[in-house]
Amino acid sequence: MSLFSAIDVSATALEAQTLRLNTISSNLANANTVSGDPNSAYRAQHVVFETMYSDAHQAFADANAGVQVSEVVLSEVPARQEYSPGHPLADENGFVYRSTVNSVEEIANMVEASRSYQSSVEAMNTVKQLILRTLTLGR
């Protein structure tokens, strides 16, 4: 029945948005992480969404199009160098390397993710009510 697959589709969105929120929390938690080496400095993680069709051969006709996270990419922005010779992690030249997280960007991303999550929950709720009403048909 189509209404049940509508719930499945919304569920995939909840899962994908949760993963997105997870990466955002990791990024925000590590926003002030400092490293003594530019290669080991924390890099911001970002999810890439992809449409997940229930059957690849009938992508268009078949309506069941959920969403999934195809990969988590690391930010290519170079680590921010900071001159701080007194820091315990400073390298021989007195530099420390800060994480590449842009907090403002992450917060904006978080708001968007939570809105999308809410939308899918709402859609799920509406569909649930319709299914329940269909069950009481003819009573």
């Binding site: 189509s2 319709l130 048909l137």
Partner: protein
């Protein structure tokens, strides 16, 4: 067509298309942030029109004749014309999708009410008393 089926009229087909549309619209809402996703929808009037027309057409005079297809027919899915496409190729306009979703939910409930009324009418007719 059985008398009970004809008493239900077009409503069951309408509900089938509505629930299919429900699924499409929730897929659009789910993929609101997916790059390259194209929003899809059903043209309700044309699907129901096709279902209505196919009910009356063509008689089979030989068992090898291929019928015009089932009453509800294939539900044709179309891409939505984007009003504000984004640079990542996504054409979902979440306000539009929400409005369509709500509209569809209300109409589905209306169909449920019609069907409910018809079932109640049939019950009264069967029992012969209110």
């Amino acid at each position: 067509m059985s008398p009970i089926k004809s008493a239900m009229g077009m409503t069951p087909q309408v509900m089938e298309v509505r629930s299919k549309r429900m699924e499409l619209l929730s897929a659009n809402i789910a993929n609101a942030d997916t790059p390259g996703y194209k929003a899809r929808d059903i043209d309700f009037a044309s699907v129901i029109g096709a279902a209505r027309d196919s009910g009356s057409a063509m008689m089979r005079t030989h068992e090898n004749h291929i019928g015009p297809g089932s009453g509800s027919g294939e539900i044709e899915v179309k891409y939505r014309a984007p009003s504000q496409p984004s640079t990542d190729g996504n054409t979902v306009d979440s306000h539009r999708e929400h409005a369509a979703f709500m509209d569809n939910a209300v109409r589905y409930q209306a169909s449920l009410n019609f069907l409910d009324g018809r079932i109640r009418g049939l019950r009264i007719a069967i029992r012969g008393q209110v």
